[in-house]
Symmetry: none
Subunit: 243 residues, 2 copies
């Protein structure tokens, strides 16, 4: 993978409904030089014959689009995940504009992803929990009606603007660990806590899991740190060694 | 006319073809607080029954839209006219980006207008001649395919940024917990790990403690999160509850 491709953020459409909107999103992306689209369980399957005509020539984006079963899998290799949403959420995460996100993505090491929800409903709380930050387009408070392709084009446009600028030198900071390493940590932690009935009684389990996930997503730990933490968890699982 | 309305730029669509695209442009405008649309000889007359549904609720823009016979009349009261085009023209005028245009419009006295051409052909040389400057969206040189509503939305979006639209607050982000709460968490974690001989053998202890401290300092967890994490640690200390 070339250095350029590594830096290009991916566009993830979660449970998109209409093939036409997938095509429009592809067109929006390619206008500003983005080519990597990922789809999480598109409603009408994939490929979708309605996507092509709406892409208006951005076929290369659709042809290379990859389909995933879950958002976690779709962003497994991404260190910086932005969940786009216009709604209030009970999640305490940093909220950024498309402009700020673009600047961060250019400055940050590791791959980045812009995540968009289904046309009508937007992202679920569980989807947002996977992200390090929430991306919101500042919009007319009395008329907020951005469609999927419009949200995509604003993000892609802002990203493309920073591409012309001089690249700021990236510090010797390690990027946040890819999502799959973080998932490994979360699964490990959950298993440990489950053995102690942390997720009991059942009605609280989902919310407890989400809380734990948010807690472990916030740090942006790098691979080394994730590995250290897993070592800590392994220690806690063990019987005390004899000195 | 209020001071705000006087400063709000107008969106001029020259010879638009489809009512649907006029509706989409209205929707794009209102998302970013623009309400004044002017139409120059729309192909299918005005009003157009296809515009309403495509406006997705931005009816106020369509209802107030005014129709003109020529572009010169449509921008007669405007001091700063920007002709949007993606193509090079044989006209020696300044070429600006949507961002630069927005900045100029905010700084300039007098009314401003963004002028957009027909869907297929774009603005004629005669139209461009009326403008003080050409507005071009920097775009993928190998795939430039912005439709009318997309061009409108990028201009409106850039203009709104300088207006300081309210960003919907998600939730007041809590500050990181005070240091003593963090110390409490670290001490708790260390006690737990010490019981499992994590800090043994002795020569490694200091460096292990430092690593753990760095790991737990990085997140910037707030008081609530620190308390949750201490609950997690307490759970790990306990024998499993009976279900």
């Amino acid at each position: 993978m070339s250095a350029k491709a590594e830096r290009e953020p991916v566009i993830v459409l979660v449970r998109p409904q209409l093939g036409e909107n997938i095509g429009k999103a592809a067109r929006a992306m390619l206008n500003f030089g983005l080519t990597e689209m990922r789809l999480v369980t598109p409603r009408d399957g994939w490929p979708n014959p309605s996507a092509g005509p709406a892409a208006a020539g951005a076929d290369v984006v659709l042809e290379q689009a990859r389909v995933f079963g879950t958002l976690a899998e779709a962003v497994a290799d991404c260190a910086n995940v932005y969940a786009t949403t216009v709604r209030k959420r009970g999640v305490a995460k940093p909220v950024v504009t498309p402009e700020q996100a673009a600047r961060e993505i250019h400055a940050a090491p590791g791959r980045s992803a812009y995540v968009f929800g289904p046309e009508r409903s937007g992202l679920e709380t569980e989807d947002v929990a996977l992200a390090r930050a929430i991306l919101t387009v500042p919009i007319n408070a009395e008329f907020g009606s951005l469609n999927l392709a419009q949200a995509v084009i604003l993000c892609a446009y802002e990203w493309s603007k920073t591409m012309g600028l001089e690249q700021p030198t990236i510090e010797e900071l390690l990027p946040p660990a890819p999502q799959d390493e973080l998932e490994g940590l979360i699964a490990h932690f959950e298993a440990l806590l489950d053995a102690k009935n942390y997720f009991w009684p059942e009605p609280r389990a989902a919310s407890n899991r989400r809380t734990l996930r948010n807690l472990l997503t916030k740090p942006g730990w790098n691979s080394l740190e994730v590995r250290t933490f897993r070592g800590v968890l392994s220690t806690l699982e063990k019987e005390p060694r004899n000195r």
